[in-house]
Amino acid sequence: MDRYLQFAVIRFKSKTAYRFDYFLGILNSLLSFVVYYSIYKALYGDAQSIDGVSFSMVTTSFLISLGLSSAFHKNEMFLQDKIKQGTIANELLKPVNFKLRMLFEDAGEGAFNVVFNFLPTALIAAFFASISAPSGAVNMLLCIASVILGYIVLWQISFIVQCLSFRLFSVWGLVTIKNVVINILAGAYIPMWFMPEKIRSILRFTPFESIYFMPVQLYLGQLGQWEILFGFLRQIAWIGGLYIIGELCWRSGIKRLVIQGG
């Protein structure tokens, strides 16, 4: 595992090379938080809670979603760029599992984003918005575990879409559509509490609910034992299924690989 950790470390290090980027990143996160905060503040008006959901629950949910989307880093153009420029040749010369190496590099950047982007943003946000405290140590650990599972699901979906670049060479459009769909279904834009019951009952079987929403619920301590168990089992099943699809896509792609540019 140490060789894969190297990829994470190197990614983390090379991110620190661009300081201006880093300050702008914080500003960017802060702005999007303020936008959502203001919209929901106006919607709530004087009300303490809507449908049993308090305003501080909503802001906490947004802040966590914000943190997760910066932690869930995926370099979605990775495979496409490597194939387009032919540098995938160099990647394949490394005696490592290509997928794991990609995952760890992304995780390294995700870690950077959390430490240098999300944490400062959260600290500043806590000054003016009311944020709920975590509901306990066990719940916090479960929350982190569900974040990791959610990341693996999200990452594998991204990998499968990226594998299409072996055939299509350009997957930018697909990636964009995929992300919008996932963000809506996962409740990153509108908290799941406000989703119509019919849609939610379908979404219950997809992995999306657990990606953003389950960590929020665990953090707030809203889930019972059975719900937690079901959530985790569902994620593990999805991870297994997506892994098989990903492997098939990768294997068929690598066979038709053409190295561009000599």
Partner: protein, 331 residues
């Protein structure tokens, strides 16, 4: 000596989209793309022994790089078999590539934002190179490739020649038994080329590393390899010692002359003469073993008034063409 690399009837076909031009063409490309198939490698076989140093030569698009990429496990062959040091490269890629080093002249392997030294540290971990071996190799390559001045500078600030040397060291840090160089001297000046060639030769001699070296530059081959494989159009044209090709080709000369009057019935013994009527250019090819250059010149000048004249040694492209068309017999 043991056989290190054996290749049997190897072939690879690429599907290429034929693009139509213009606006109508662009629309057609989207809705009805047409494809053609190109045989990049077409039934090549050879075997290379341990410690041998083999030059692959051929014009652009001959299939050299594709062959090297199949040998290094990057591309999957369509037909035929490859066995390198007991591995089937494309099937056992992860295990296999730990034993080889590959240098691509056109693609850098070290990180753009980091210094070579930082990249080497990463390589050390990825390949699990023992600390002592890493230190020894690093010291040795820094010395041999003259990298002291730039080893801790970000790669983006290095010159092409420096980057290439840093890249070569990167590919060799784990002491591979087999090394493929794919056009390592491309775009590099004479001094830089010389450093690289010397280094490669030293390494082959002292460490008994098996090497394949692809290039367009005949000089590269002359100074490093004993054995030569010529590839054109995906097929192997020649496989044998460099000496044979040299003795046969080195004696060939080409005289190009611009003449004022039209040559009529010009025929010099032991030469091949072609004449381009539109430009008035006269090309005379001959073998210095059969007729001396001065004899050809005298014969030419006695019948024609010459505006401009030049004498050329044939380049590798024409040597290959000659071999292909059977004008030069080797092997």
């Amino acid at each position: 000596m043991e056989t290190m690399i054996s290749v049997e009837d190897l072939s690879k076909t690429f599907k290429i989209q034929r693009r139509s031009t213009g606006f109508a063409g662009a629309v057609k490309n989207i809705f009805h793309p047409t494809y053609e198939y190109k045989k990049a490698v077409d039934g090549i076989s050879f075997s290379i022994k341990e410690g041998e140093m083999v030059g692959f030569i051929g014009p652009n698009g001959a299939g050299k790089s594709t062959t090297v990429k199949m040998l290094s496990g990057i591309l999957h062959p369509d037909g035929g078999s490859i066995n390198v040091a007991g591995y089937i490269p494309h099937k056992q890629r992860k295990e296999y590539v730990a034993n080889i080093g590959v240098v691509f002249g056109q693609k850098s392997q070290i990180s753009w934002d980091l210094s070579p030294l930082d990249s080497y540290e990463v390589i050390k971990h990825i390949y699990r190179i023992p600390e002592k071996l890493y230190k020894d190799n690093l010291e040795r390559y820094t010395e041999l490739l003259d990298m002291k001045d730039f080893i801790d500078r970000p790669v983006r600030q290095l010159s092409l020649g420096q980057r290439m040397r840093a890249d070569i060291a990167a590919a060799l840090l784990h002491s591979p038994k087999i090394v493929f160089f794919d056009e390592p001297t491309i775009g590099i000046d004479v001094v830089g080329k010389d450093k690289i060639r010397k280094f490669i030769k030293t390494l082959n001699e002292t460490d008994n590393i098996t090497m394949i070296f692809t290039t367009h530059d005949m000089q590269d081959i002359e100074q490093t390899c004993q054995r030569l494989i010529i590839i054109d159009d995906g097929k192997k044209l020649y496989d044998g010692s460099l000496e044979n090709v040299k003795t046969d080709c080195v004696s060939t000369r080409i005289i190009e002359a611009e003449v004022e009057n039209m040559p009529s019935g010009l025929d010099i013994e032991n030469t091949q003469i072609t004449h381009d009527e539109s430009t008035g250019k006269l090309t005379v090819m001959f073998d210095t073993d059969k007729i001396s250059t001065s004899d050809v010149m005298t014969a030419l000048m006695s019948t024609h008034s010459i505006k401009d004249i030049s004498i050329k040694e044939p380049g590798i492209d024409s040597v290959i063409r000659d071999i292909y068309e059977g004008r030069i017999k080797v092997g």
